[in-house]
Symmetry: C2
Subunit: 349 residues, 2 copies
DNA sequence: CACCTTGTAGAAAGCGCTTGCTACACCGGA
DNA sequence: TCCGGTGTAGCAAGCGCTTTCTACAAGGTG
């Protein structure tokens, strides 16, 4: 059998209650007694029974982190930063929490199921990252879940995700619109007038916001947009590759391609190169996020840097109650335009 | 208050035991009764109390996945694949498990702490990914933990990690040595004789194995190695950048650089380019892993493809008991040499 | 010296669920 | 009619911990 609290108590010649108190450090215990207990714990190699403890205390030390795609560094970086603050190991004494990353794969059902699972585990906090799915019933279901979680005492934080109305979830949103607008404005400033846009999945808020920013910039500059210039895809490299070929087929005279994110931009570069076009002499390319590899693209990628790690860390701290939530529970995190080699003045047409 | 089993039982006019049995589906319950219970569950919006359930049943539905760096796609891809098989949501009915990814940051202490945390939660299975740290005391501590976990009924699987002796953990190892050897042999075949090697952190098994493979290839070709040609670093881009500068300083006549992994190789490319060298005309570069972005490097990266997703999926299935472990509990997974544009014949010196 | 603090430790009542065992119908066969 | 299945459901005993309440000793105070 495994060692229990009672075994430790017997060995240390104290009551189980005392052992529990020593372990939790939330009650005065005489130094000598504590010593004895700790020695017994050590000798017996005792490990607390998490479920039992959670049941009795009606709280758990689990913190859930939901991500759309764990293989995507965008989420990996945020998750890492969040987890770093949650502490898990390495955190401040006693407050050892198990930060768990759940991969929804962008599927609404999985998202809900994971939330239920976390609710079932009575998680201490939940952090949802990345764009939400814009499906009314699903959004409502998620909001209801979040409300229920909050009611049960779980702290809910959204990181890089739009606020959830009717929920007291704290939201740290990325200013996707603003970033996209600045990016496209940069391109327009260089003289581009025929810009292709490779969007992400239609139903994602991130997709919509970035596209809106792009269009706002066009509108502000008085550039009329051709509907053929927008293609929807996924947030991965291959999607960028395919979408670019499609874009070129529709209008070979495009002088710039704005991608939904850096991975997509990389795919776009590959497609352009294969079609014999030079970057940026023939076509400029821009991404979004500024993931680590973007600077190593050739030419290096013009993009919008999102402070993924910083935002994640902050979300983590808020989830742990170690930092005040922003006023109103909502904060917008701005991106920074990184102008690099992949964008330049358009070729004289 | 939250809804409990008893509330559901009252509502459905049955005993708590019956409700439990309906929910777990491990005992015959009359269809009509089941119906009634399920309706009550639905109406009350009941969510099982995980800790209580785990305590009573002495098992939990948690599965832990330990990774060295969650922001690194190498781990992200594996973790995603493992999680996909673990099921979490989307898995087969009833078997809903919470697959949790824990980020050790490559720190031995964190690794141990996470293992303890998982042991505390009475995890159903644990998958450790990536290279282990080669520190005798630490290795022993981990082995002891793994043994204890196994004793407690937790299935332990190592994925992309060398077998742990004296442990009945199933191991799916990557053939780093063989892959590295093939890679360097390729370079030697092209005519290179002066090859720089950028290794990972010294204490990692992965680092050692890849380096050994590299040296084995050199030895087999009768090429004498200069100690100055090896530099140790981290597994990230910046490390590759810095190490390359160091390598060039030590010996500007190198005609090829073999990197510990693709990220490092990317950093190496950047450094070479900045120093005015062309790839592969002046210097060939090779990576390892074949992460998604490697094919988009310019020129695209010669590397060794590791079947990350496949291995992860297999590890996940084994962890779930849905696939037989390999004979002897150990399987070696081979990499595949991907020859691409970043390697070529050396310049005529 | 009685009395109240203060500091420590134990007794015991759960926390919400699972499950072995028991109980009760109801059925067909003897 | 009696009896041994067979199919369902309930009882109740925990699972291993936390925490309230109580107990007691020691020390200070009037």
């Amino acid at each position: 059998m495994t060692v229990t609290l009672a075994d430790v108590a017997a060995r240390a010649q104290v009551s189980p209650a005392t052992v529990s108190r020593v372990l939790n450090g939330n009650y005065p215990v005489a130094a000598a007694t504590r010593e004895r207990v700790l020695r017994a714990v050590d000798e017996l190699d005792y490990v607390l029974n998490g479920p039992a403890s959670a049941l009795a205390a009606a709280t758990s030390d689990l913190v859930g982190i939901l991500v759309n795609d764990i293989a995507d560094p965008f989420f990996g970086i945020m998750a890492g930063a969040i987890q770093g603050e949650i502490g898990g190991p390495g955190g401040r004494a006693g407050g050892e929490r198990l930060a768990v990353v759940c991969n929804t794969g962008g599927s609404p059902e999985r998202e809900l199921t994971y939330l239920t699972l976390l609710q079932r585990q009575r998680a201490a906090a939940v952090v949802l990252t990345g764009g939400a799915v814009e499906d009314a019933p699903h959004a409502a279901a998620v909001a209801a879940k979040l409300r229920k979680l909050a009611d049960a005492g779980t702290r809910v934080v959204l990181c890089g995700r739009p606020p959830a109305p009717d929920t007291d979830a704290v939201a740290l949103t990325f200013d996707n619109r603003g970033g996209a607008r600045a990016l496209t404005a940069h391109l327009l400033g260089l003289g581009h007038r025929r810009l292709g846009y490779i969007a992400g999945p239609v139903e994602r808020t991130t997709t919509r916001h970035r596209l809106e920013g792009h269009r706002a910039a066009l509108a502000a500059a008085g550039v009329e947009e051709d509907p053929r210039w927008t293609v929807y895809g996924r947030y991965d490299r291959q999607s960028g590759y395919e979408a670019t070929l499609e874009l070129l087929r529709r209008d070979p005279s495009l002088t710039a391609i704005v991608a939904a994110n850096d991975s997509v931009a990389l795919g776009a570069c590959a497609a352009l190169r294969e079609s014999g076009r030079r970057i940026p002499e023939d076509v400029s390319v821009a991404g979004f996020d500024d993931l680590p590899f973007s600077i190593d693209a050739v030419p290096s990628l013009t993009t919008v840097r999102l402070p993924l790690a910083e935002a994640g860390a902050r979300a983590g701290r808020i989830a742990m109650g170690r930092e005040e939530p922003p006023p109103g529970g909502i904060a917008s995190v701005r991106g920074e335009l990184m102008v690099r080699g992949s964008t330049g003045v358009p070729r004289a047409s």
